[in-house]
């Protein structure tokens, strides 16, 4: 439905107040009617801008202006307390690229993201397939809710639980490992296992969302096709491989994109799990310092705002690039009905 000019030609009285033709404007194309019509449109337009103003103003002031301001700060020497703001060209970027820690953070973020994407897609789809029939039952909502519940919990609160579970001496994780006759791990105290511990927390927290998205996607696969395939005696894995997977590909693409963007920007769970009792977040020995953490610490712990802005520009570009490359792939692979 689009708004057309063929609407009932009556102007709200408050917009044509004082004029001799109010709501009784004659139908047809008399001059009075034309004038009323024009007044109505003008009124509509002004009201529309007024109604849009609050939302647009918030978006402009707190999102679009900062997006532009980011570029500005990254090319300037800028600090909260320093009044001497001066143009420094690419100096911030040059200093950034001279920092090994920046590249280490990029590598850590890439590692985190590259594990999280396949783990997310594989586990979320697997769980959705298992739950698919259960959730359509009379009390099926319970299973959906159980899987989704972690996603609505505040991250710091639940990260504390996971820090406790990953406690090397008394934690459940090591209890389970030793019960299975596996060696206990240092988890958050170990440079090797700290990030995997964070990944487990993140997966627990985020999978519910992706399961829900996959369930919605699976519900859109036409039943008739599946029934026909079954009548023809097609094996389960073949039905999945040839019918469900291709039909689901837009959903899979969407989940992949969401998981990529979210993983690359992971902050709160890493901060909460590796900070707190463990001292500076991002440790041990910067093993869990991702892009987002490095930006935070550079700006708000070490007060190097311009450097952090330069990092943010790179972060921005990376996410934009990842989005475009996935779009490019999806245009070639994804099957849209």
């Amino acid at each position: 439905m689009t708004v057309s000019s063929t609407r009932a030609p009556a102007a709200p009285p408050e917009l044509v107040a004082g004029s001799s033709f109010g709501e009784r404007a004659p139908r047809g194309q008399s001059p009075a009617h034309k004038l009323a019509e024009r007044a109505r449109r003008l009124g509509d337009r002004l009201v529309a801008y007024g109604l849009l103003l609050p939302a647009i103003a918030i978006f402009v002031v707190f999102f679009f202006v900062p997006a532009g301001y980011l570029l500005y700060i990254s090319f300037y020497h800028w600090g909260i307390l320093s009044s001497a703001t001066q143009f420094v060209g690419l100096t911030n970027f040059r200093r950034l690229f001279a920092q090994p820690l920046f590249f280490q953070a990029l590598t850590t973020t890439a590692y985190y993201t590259l594990v999280m994407i396949p783990a997310t897609v594989f586990l979320a789809l697997g769980i959705a397939l298992v739950l698919k029939e259960a959730v359509t039952g009379r009390r099926g909502g319970v299973w959906r809710a159980a899987v989704f519940l972690p996603h609505v919990t505040p991250v710091v609160a639940t990260s504390i639980i996971w820090v406790w579970i990953f406690n090397p001496q008394f934690g459940l994780a090591n209890y389970v490992l030793t019960s299975l006759h596996l060696p206990a791990l240092g988890w958050l105290d170990s440079t090797q296992w700290a990030l995997p511990a964070v990944m487990i927390d993140s997966l627990w927290h985020s999978l519910g969302l992706y399961v829900i998205i996959f369930l919605a996607g699976l519900a859109n696969v036409p039943r008739e096709i599946l029934e026909v395939a079954q009548l023809d005696g097609a094996k389960r894995h073949r039905v999945f491989h040839r019918i469900v997977w291709p039909l689901l590909s837009p959903t899979t693409f969407f989940v992949t994109l969401l998981a990529t963007v979210n993983s690359w920007q992971a902050f709160s769970q890493i901060f909460a799990m590796t900070g707190g009792p463990h001292g500076g977040a991002g440790g041990p020995a910067f093993a869990t310092t991702t892009d987002a953490l490095l930006v935070y610490e550079t700006a708000f712990i070490y007060d190097h705002f311009s450097l952090a802005a330069a990092m943010s520009v790179i972060l921005f570009l990376i996410i934009l690039f990842l989005t475009f490359i996935q779009k490019w792939i999806s245009d070639r692979v994804v099957f849209y009905r």
């Binding site: 337009r45 609050p54 978006f59 519940l149 406790w164 969302l209 935070y296």
Partner: protein, 290 residues
Amino acid sequence: MNVPLARRGARRSGPVSPAGLGRILRWALVVAISVLFAFPLYWVVVTAFNTHNGVFSIPPRFVPAFHTDAFLYVLEHTNWLHYMLNTFLIAGSTVLLVIATSAAAGFALAELSFRGRGFFLFMILAVIMLPAQALLIPQYAVALHLHLLDSYAIQIIPFGASTFGVVLFRQFFKSLPREFWEVARLEGVGHLRYIWRVALPLARPAVATVALLTFITSWNQFQWPLIMTVSHSVQPIEVALSHYMQTFEANWRKLTSAVVLALLPIVALFLLLQRYIVDGVAGRDSGVNT
């Protein structure tokens, strides 16, 4: 999965029919997955109410005891109520603001014709393309220049507009019969009155969905208040918890008691309204998809 294999094996043996066995396996898996997801939340309750030594016992006690001393200590010796009220205030105000701005913008985009409509819609949609982490530095600078740092306002206003809210209200208002608006116009009802008295009440499902999802998102904010505020007087519960992590360093019963307190309201809300919340999220995120 092993279901087809198990089926073949069970074909001629035992009282359980092959289809039955597959069903049992499937249900076992469903229950196992649900338990696995819910377990950490159970575990935090068990830890909070355990005995002092029970927390460190190996093998761990999986059955909850009811020793409330750590919990009562946290109740009495922390400012949890203050932080909780802050969180409620911030989340509640954000919800009201989002409903107002979204309904207004959604109505304009759905019902009125004006120049620049496509452009404004594009702008509102473009916001979700901006990566949140990359904007924090300049957002901090903007807040600094506007003298909004360390206030309730900086935790409310920037989240007072929502792309999802605008899009959902626009969709909903478009689905209302055109005649309502036309009759209202003939009767001389103004725009705002029409939105408030007719459109919003009819859009109650949209209001509920936007309110719930906004409330949960706002309640769970952490990084934003961590950066934008320093005074305990305006900080929400999540930031307080990160302080408690230092105060209660290795005192797991007290720390988990604080966690239980922080989780209670949001988990209760979810359990009460889970159907609407999950449906709302499914609609929001699959809606973007199509």
